[in-house]
Structures are given as C-alpha cells and as structure tokens.
C-alpha cells in the first residue's frame, strides 16, 4: 500500500543528484504542490527528465530558475528562457530528445527493456554516437532506456491502493513515468476509498505508486 504524505514530506525525499521524471505537458498535469515544496528546499544538482522545461514562473521551469537543475533530458525548452541561458553558459547540460523517443525510452525502463529501435532521427544529429540496426530493410536507431530515482507525477484521483485516474489532456506523460522510476510519488486532487474507482477506468494500477500527496494539503 502506498503511503499518504504531505508535499513537504515528498520534497524532503529528494536528494542532490537524484534523477527525476516530472510528468506534465507545459504544466498541465504537473505536480505543482510538490514542485512548490521542492523549490523551498532548494535541493540542488538534480537531473530533470520531462517533455518540456515549462515556464519560468510555472511547472518544472521554476526549478531551473532556482538553479536546482544540473542536467536535463527534454524534448522542448523553447518556453523557458532560463533553460536556454543556463544551457549556453554551461550551467545545465541538456540532452534534447525527440518527444516520442523520450516517452518510449522511459516506458522501456518500466517495461524491463534495454531500449527501443526507432526510425525517428535517422540521418539527423540525433543518431550521432548511437548504434543503428536494419530490420526488414528499414533503418532504426537504438535508443537506450532512461532510468530514474523518482517519478513525480500528477493524477486526478487515487484510491488508497494507489490506483490512478487522470483528467483530459492532463494525462500526457504521467502514466508512462509512473511505471519507470524506483520511487513514484503522485500528487492528486482527491483520494478515495478502495473500491470507489471502477477497475475499468483505472489507467495506472497501484502497483507503480509508492507515495500519494493530496494537492492543497497544509504545507
């Protein structure tokens, strides 16, 4: 059974040099309460793995602005000037990963795979330094699985088993990241009793969830 903790307790679990998967797409489906607390802790040298580095004032972008990120794997950083500036100055080392590749590399880890073969990026700088394979006459790049210490994700509701349901376009990367870290922390708007969620509507089964944080709990 996952443990229900506060966002402050969640942030305290994170240590320097941890590799963290952050769910969300341009802050939609992003665990803002946990990020609030993480900004307060000021824990540094984190490795950020996310679709985008969001905005300077919202989402994971705040961790960049607060100089807490040492390195990152992102598919888009155009919405956050601080990420760009810190990348140019050498403060942050960024690997830019095509979005579909990023998702499958994360999913691969959770699914016990060493990596994936994708046609995305063949003939571009993305293939540099990577092995290529020809399968049935088509060229693929080997993209290795991405591991992480923590996944910090957002769902709409959890039951006390950690079964999760999402809301609209706030689902995005969250169910993928839920599978793939050593420890998964989910922020939810509502925690319900076991049996209140229909097994048919559950997107992420509770086996992946270690900690549940209720949004808006006293910090």
């Amino acid at each position: 059974m996952p443990k229900i903790i506060s966002s402050k307790e969640a942030a305290a679990l994170i240590k320097p040099h941890n590799r963290i998967l952050f769910g969300g797409f341009l802050t939609v489906g992003c665990a803002e309460n946990i990020i609030d607390e993480l900004v307060k802790t000021g824990t540094k040298d984190l490795h950020l793995i996310a679709i985008a580095s969001d905005y300077e004032h919202k989402g994971v972008g705040r961790l960049v602005v607060n100089n807490q990120i040492k390195s990152a794997q992102l598919s888009h950083l155009g919405t956050n000037k601080s990420t760009q500036a810190q990348m140019n100055s050498g403060q942050i080392e960024v690997e830019i990963v095509p979005q579909g590749t990023l998702m499958e590399r994360i999913r691969a880890k959770g699914a016990g795979l060493g990596g994936i073969l994708t046609p995305t990026g063949v003939g571009t700088v993305i293939e540099e330094g990577k092995e290529k394979f020809i399968v049935d006459g088509k060229v693929f790049i080997l993209e290795k699985a991405i591991s992480a210490d923590f996944a910090i994700i957002k769902a709409k509701k959890a039951d006390k088993h950690g079964n999760l349901v999402y809301s609209k376009t706030a689902r995005n990367s969250n169910p993928i990241m839920a599978m793939s870290a050593d420890i998964t922390i989910v922020e939810v708007d509502e925690i319900v009793e076991i049996g209140e969620l229909s097994p048919e509507e559950i997107i992420t089964p509770g086996i992946f969830v270690d900690y549940i944080v209720l949004s808006g709990l006293p910090k």
Binding site: A52, Q84, Q99, E104, T120, G123, T124, K168, T169, S173
Partner: protein
C-alpha cells in the same frame, strides 16, 4: 488584398492545404501557421485532428471564459474536444504518430530541400527550442506537408538544393505550400504544381534556389 500581408498569406496557405484533406482523415497540425488549416475544412467532410500532448479529436478554441485548464493543445493553447474524441497518454500519442496511422501532418519549416529534407528545430549559434514532436511526426505520418513562407525575412529562398541547417528528417517531405507556390518532391527536384495569384513563373524561379520541374499545366490558387 495585398499579397505581402501576413494574414492574407496565412489564409492563402491554410486554405490551399485544407484542399488536400479527405473525409475521415486523421491529421496533426503543427504550431503556428499550420493551425490555420483547421479554419478551412471543405464543406461536407469530417477531419479528425490530433494534438500530440494527448487528444484525438480536437475541437475549436473555447469561448472566452469557458477555458478549461486541463484542455490544451501542443502549443499550450486552450481547446475543446469534439464529440467522439479520445484522451490518450504520450506513448499512445506517439505510437499513433510514429506507427504510420496519421494520414497527414502539416509543419512549418526553416528550410526544405529538393531531396525532401526538412530543417525546423535548430539554428546553431542562436536559439535551440528543441524539436518537441516534430521529428516523430515527419518520420511517421503518411503525408508530410510543409506550410511556410517561400522566402525568409531577408528575402532568401527557404526552398533549397540542400538544407544547411540541422535536419529534422531525411527525405520525408511530400508537398510544400507557400505564399507563392504549391510544389511536390519528384525525382530529387521540386515539381511546380500551382502558382499563387499575383505571381508569375519567373517570380517563382527567382525566389527558389532549388531545381524546379516546370512543365504542363500550372494552375493558379488564391484565397477565394
């Protein structure tokens, strides 16, 4: 209307690309100019739009005051969902994209060349926004259409013999629609299909660095 007017160009390009759509198509429109296509769907056909952040069946933008913070498109803009839409996670979204299930993707570009190569994600020495979903989209969609202005703001051709910027994908572009012309890739050249009203073949040749195939009937296209 003035053919150099930004809004005119947007409507011209969007409307022409919309004519490429067929009933029942599943389509992904890139951020910016490509989104204009959705405003010109021919009457009598239904087209389903994907937004790669997680929805099949994007509807129009909501009325002011009706925005739902959990309903955005890949550009971060507020959207609605059509009846019969589906929410999907990011892995499913890119399985749809990479797996060859989309009928068409429409993207903007910095450069396109006559081998069907596309560059649209990085200007070395300047800003690196990242490619987001663009590399997967051009790698997987059945038809790749580029929507862009024919020349950059300094008047240099964006349609080249060979791209000089880092590529997004190799040999994937099928059709280009600009404010001056409609062209398709054929035998490592661009075949000129249509010319925008107000321009001549000579104008197109002067504004295009790539090798052109100009033969047969070449129609005009406009905003009407």
């Amino acid at each position: 209307m003035d053919k150099n007017d930004k809004d005119y160009k947007k409507i011209l390009i969007g409307k022409r690309i919309a004519k490429e759509l067929s009933d029942g198509d599943f389509v992904n429109l890139g951020i910016g100019l490509p989104t204009e296509v959705a405003n010109h769907i021919p009457k009598g056909i239904n087209v389903y739009f994907q937004s790669e952040n997680g929805i099949m069946g994007v509807g129009p933008a909501p009325n002011s005051g009706d925005e739902d913070p959990e309903m955005i498109n890949a550009g971060g803009g507020f959207i609605t969902a059509i009846s019969g839409s589906a929410f999907i996670d990011s892995a499913m979204s890119f399985a749809i994209i990479r797996g060859g299930h989309l009928d068409m993707t429409v993207l903007g570009a910095l450069q396109v060349d006559q081998k069907g190569n596309l560059a649209n994600w990085w200007i070395p020495g300047k800003f690196v926004p990242g490619m987001g979903g663009a590399m997967d989209l051009v790698s997987g969609a059945k038809k790749v259409v580029v929507a862009m202005e024919h020349c950059d703001k300094n008047g240099n051709s964006k349609i080249l013999q060979e791209c000089t910027l880092p590529l997004t994908a190799v040999g994937k572009v099928n059709l280009i629609v600009t404010d001056m012309a409609v062209m398709k890739i054929e035998k490592d050249k661009f075949r000129l299909l249509e010319i925008a009203e107000g321009y001549t073949i000579d104008d197109i040749q002067k504004a295009t660095e790539a090798d052109l195939i100009i033969e047969g009937e070449i129609k005009n296209f406009g905003v009407n």
